[in-house]
Symmetry: C2
Subunit: 402 residues, 2 copies
């Protein structure tokens, strides 16, 4: 669906660049760099797919060491996955080259990739691009970086939030990519967030996990989980605030802002979902446990039949209750209430009679759809975000070349 | 995909009929009856969806009682689900009327429904149809019954198998419907099998479970499971064979023939999958457990990305290995071998180099696709059957009216 292009942003002490190194055949930007001018700490979450790109293996390892991080390098157009040992060799070659150019340690560089699986990286294209990449790196380069990580994305994705800790102004900004293969536990998406806040790595990891759960782990486009998913936050401490401690008011502020940026990026991914024409929120309340709420929301948000009905602007609550029924969660069908953009569709074990089907259909014509499900079985809630399932999803994915 | 229309069949001692009672707006057949001329035993499996049609609740209960069964009545055009207590009342009214017409006990009648959820059955249409239904019931009526249970199906589905126990000729014949909402644990499908074999209800239930696992529980079209799935076998013993005992040679013969009929019907459902252009077998070998094998096969067969790639005739093994990776089963990515219609696509942690991409694409152009995956991690195997994911799937499901 058409969305306004988000604005460029700057985070104090961060620079970025995006260039075309020749991986994408159409000459589009395909190599990005995010650089902190001073050593930063990093936290990250990565795909749970057992088949993983070399860059995921390497970055996961580096983040775990919790040492200082200066840079993230990202290529699009090639996932660098499923090509045996060559994948790791190519990762290390690129990192070596970049470390020399930036005159920093190899251990200070994270790496991520996205694109076609199983095709070896063309030799030298990435390393040959490094000098230009470093030269172009500037405080105004975030838009270029956001563009250089796109694959089937129609728009670049950026988001920013600001708040203060005492006199210290904190900025949290991020870029992301993703439009297909999006499913809880992240799926094909990359997100890179930068902040000038001072925070230690383990507290940052905790905040990131909370933000991730409410954002990237709550969206689904097509139920497929990729080999390359990566969400990394870098914090360079240049705001000079007192370090943020877990459980403090500042931690709550920071996590709220980080969640806001992450959700904003996640929503942009759903709106850019392959062939999407509508943004759908599935809100489940009255569940016995948080896990039940999320399972039911995911079941509805993942149903191809629900998603094609939304594309067809059909208030088909039957497919919704059906997907609730096979979520694998104990429910009382006779208690369930289903509302669609405010209109009650199902209640008291029966569909609601409506004066006019036309007014219901008009509600379906909106670009934003809220499916609210009350299980009346407890007090827990969850939201999952998705898009509809259109002809264009099939078109895009039938024609995307191996 | 276009398939030859299967032939009519007869099972000794069974009659059937299919008529139009007015549930379907277009005047097509929508009420079916299968009748045994003598008391039969029945076995059945039903949807695991927690939201269930009244007919499912009722038939499950009747089958469990293991008493004599004479008839099954099935309507299409209305699922009789999610309409509160009215659903059960309407079931019982129809059964009462039919019992009087056939002069048999209400306890001897099973019932099944398929169609739109949440719309109450129009009063009297079903009961008014009963006299014509009974009058038309004949040994040659199976095709009419098969037609009367169709919803979005493009073709009626029948299958038959024959074998001998000594001098006794056993016939097993069946009808089925289903084209969307098809997923393991049965999903929107109905199947009714009749046999003249002599077998007690618990042995029949055991044979049915084996046949079901290899057929209806191994197919997926779109990952949605319905409120109405039903698979019932009736055996009237008119062949006069010595009763079939578990563990016997005859049991093995009977189960093989029942599996053959069930698989045949299940394959017809997949081929008639909404918008399907190809029949896809996902065969997993080298798994540690049977459950692992099936989970991996299901993960690949359910992936929208794999299914759109097959529609696009694209040998995209990357999406296959990706779906293997998120199946939730321990694997060794470096051992996996993926073959597509005989051509090795992935081996030794690397995609296989092919002399020509054209020959690979030609293999993809066939209407039948075999994805063979060797996990090289054990000796267990499983097969799951599915179809591709085309524009027409979206079209059919966006336009099917609530």
């Amino acid at each position: 669906m058409k969305t306004p292009t988000p604005k460029n942003y700057q985070v104090p002490g961060f620079k970025a660049a995006g260039i075309a190194c020749g991986l994408k055949k159409n000459g589009a930007k395909d190599l990005a760099l995010i650089l902190s001018t001073t050593p930063a700490v990093a936290a990250g979450v990565f795909t749970k797919n057992r088949v993983q790109a070399a860059s995921v293996t390497l970055s996961r390892r580096t983040v775990k060491k919790a040492g200082p991080i200066r840079a993230i390098v990202i290529n699009s157009g090639n996932a660098n996955a499923c090509i045996g040992k060559q994948g790791m060799t190519d990762c290390k070659t690129l990192i070596d080259r970049l470390a020399r150019e930036l005159m920093i340690s190899k251990e200070e560089i994270l790496i991520a990739s996205t694109g076609v699986i199983g095709v070896p990286l063309p030799p030298n294209k990435l390393t040959d691009g490094v000098p230009e990449l470093v030269e172009k790196c500037s405080a105004k380069g975030m838009n270029d970086a956001a563009e250089a990580i796109m694959t089937t994305d129609l728009t670049r994705k950026t988001a920013v939030a600001r708040f203060s800790i005492g006199k210290n102004k904190i900025v949290i900004g991020g870029i992301a990519k993703g439009s297909g293969m999006i499913h809880p536990n992240m799926a094909t998406m990359l997100a890179f967030v930068q902040t000038n806040a001072r925070i230690d790595p383990s507290t940052l990891q905790q905040a990131l996990k909370e933000a991730n759960e409410a954002s990237f782990n709550s969206i689904t486009v097509d139920g497929d989980m990729s080999t390359n998913d990566t969400f990394i936050v870098m914090a360079n401490g240049q705001a000079g605030n007192k370090p943020i401690k877990p459980g403090s008011k500042e931690y709550a502020q920071f996590t709220a802002a980080l969640t806001e940026v992450s959700k904003n990026l996640a929503f942009q991914i759903v709106k850019d979902g392959e062939g999407a024409t509508k943004f759908v929120t599935v809100r489940v309340s009255g569940a016995k446990t948080k896990n039940h709420a999320k399972k039911v929301a995911e079941s509805v948000a993942t149903s191809s039949l629900v998603k094609t009905a939304i594309f067809g602007e059909d208030p088909n609550w039957g497919r919704i209750i059906c997907a609730i029924g096979y979520a694998g969660v104990p429910i009382h069908p006779d208690r369930i209430v289903i509302r669609l953009n405010g209109a009650t569709l199902y209640e008291n074990d029966n569909p609601t009679r409506h004066a006019s089907m036309d007014s219901l259909r008009r509600k379906m014509q909106k670009p934003t759809i809220l499916i609210a499900i009350d299980l009346k079985n407890g007090n827990e809630t969850a939201e999952v975000y998705t898009c509809d399932f259109s002809y264009d999803y099939v078109k895009i994915n039938a024609e995307y070349t191996t």
